[in-house]
Amino acid sequence: MSLALALAPGRRRETGLGLLLALPIVLVMASLVFYPLLLTLWDSLHRVDPMRYGTPFVGLGQYIELFNDSDVGAAWGNTIWLVIMAVVAETVGGVLIALLLQSVRRGRQWLLAAVILPWAMPPIVNAIIWLWIYNPSYGLLNAVLRDLGVISHYHVWFNDRATALALIAVVHVWRMMPLTAVIVLAALQGIPHELYEAARIDGARPWRSFVAITLPLIAPALAIALTQSTIFAFNLFDEAWILAGASLDTRTLLIETYMLAFQNLHFSYGMALSVLVMLVSLAVSLLYVMRSGRGATYE
């Protein structure tokens, strides 16, 4: 009487239950993510345009067209600038906030709540709050900067492309920096206190022990935070849309995709662009997965 035979009915029932419990997830993801994804890839090789007859195969024609499209080029430029500004600010600011939170003893959970609030709010509301602050005539930014003597007259901030991009980045950083801070804080809490004790006894200054102990130990968490910051900034839509609408000066890749598909109704041309955006997002994530292979084998 073999044990395997006795277990067989149980095993089969387990398989059935497993499939049953996973089935809804498979159905939802297959029909609403993977099927449209394949459709995107397929259609990006065809001309799908509700205003024109037929859907002829055009190969990579739309991708080539994308490379020669100056609006799309500007959107790439805007997005890359936003990513650079946002990722640098979120990483530096997020680490500083995490260190501060870690050092606060009394009322830390309240400070943490205040820090997280901007992340928890709808991005649209964040952008509206800052839209009012940036208002050229009555906004707080002009008033505060003039009182501080930084500027002599009121500025229409969104008249200048570089300023406009920087101000959009500020709103995005305001929302996303808490995420970096929380991820880094989790890593900080995992560092054994004795390490700092030992460093202090050895006469290490705070900065030295930060570089020698903290930084290497939070590096994996920083990698995760960096990936998240990059992907979120790369897919920025809401803040730029509320603050500057479809303005070419600040139009991000996602806004460009939206305009192409839903305003100009060039469906498949927009899909080709979204395929490129997806490939870059995937590449960033892969880069992270390859860099931190340790986590993958640890599973």
Partner: protein
């Protein structure tokens, strides 16, 4: 000496950075239109007015001598839409994740690891990638501008993270409890509903909060899939106050502040779960 004084300064700067803009919106929402345009700006409303909230919540008012229609019909409708779609998406997402994650952690079936990897991999691709074909699909099945359509899209967008979270929660549970139940003759389903899920309550709350807040803040998806007040949520309605002929900053700020009440309540009362969810979601 320097290190002792640096910390309080840091805390104050951090509080001003995080809460200052929200305070300014709050103060502005209580200012009369003439005070909003005062030079220099008032940091406190000189006269507290409820007119913006009144306008949102059902009373007509006057602005620059003109009668202003209350936006309550639109606002209330959008509020209900936001609550229904976010609530439904949260319930469905958490339920599917709680059941599915158990299968992915404790049960063996063909394709298990491949399916899990594929689903979680979609975390790395932006939800917007599939929006254009999804739009055509939704038109074909007549689900544009319906609660069902919007909820399904939300579920497909938030399920991977919830599944990932719930799997890590289940994995951290001691196997011995489930083995003891099995020895006592409890079925798999009984074990799941009576032991595993109750023990995972904090993880379920964390997944529910993350899903709800994400759905509550959604903008691009309803911008495309909720064109009319039939399902249009607050996030799409509120910016429309901006693009009217004159920009009513008092109204906009008041509407924004009403829309952040749920996130504020979550952050005040459930922050522990939110933080643990964020930490787990980002980590292993």
């Amino acid at each position: 000496m320097r290190r002792i004084s640096a910390k309080p300064v840091g805390v104050v700067v951090l509080l001003i950075w995080s809460l200052g803009p929200i305070y300014w919106a709050l103060a502005s929402s209580f200012m009369r239109p003439t005070d909003l345009t005062a030079q220099p700006p008032h940091f406190l409303p000189p006269v507290v007015t409820w007119q913006h909230y009144a306008n949102l919540l059902g009373f007509n008012s006057t602005f620059q001598g003109q009668q202003v229609q209350s936006v309550w019909p639109q606002f209330s409708r959008a509020l209900v839409n936001s609550l229904v779609t976010s609530g439904a998406a949260t319930i469905v997402t958490v339920a599917l994740a709680a059941l599915g994650a158990y299968a992915f952690v404790r049960l063996r079936f063909p394709g298990r690891d491949a399916i899990f990897a594929l689903v979680v991999a979609t975390l790395a691709i932006p939800a917007y990638t599939v929006m254009i074909p999804l739009y055509r699909l939704m038109i074909v099945v007549h689900l544009v501008d319906t609660y069902l359509g919007v909820t399904l899209i939300y579920v497909s967008a938030f399920l991977p993270l919830a599944l990932w979270l719930m799997r890590s929660v289940y994995r951290a549970l001691p196997l011995s409890l489930e083995e003891a139940a099995a020895l006592d003759g409890a079925s798999r389903l009984y074990t799941l509903f009576r032991i595993v899920i109750p023990l995972s309550a904090p993880g379920l709350i964390a997944s529910a909060i993350l899903t709800f807040l994400s759905a509550w803040g959604m903008f691009v998806v309803p911008l495309v899939f909720s064109p009319t007040l039939h399902t249009k949520p607050l996030t799409v309605l509120i910016p429309e106050f901006v693009t009217k002929n004159y920009v009513d900053y008092g109204l906009m700020n008041a509407a924004g502040l009403l829309a952040i009440i749920p996130p504020v309540l979550v952050v005040i009362f459930l922050n522990r779960y939110l933080v643990s969810g964020l930490m787990a979601g980002a980590g292993k």
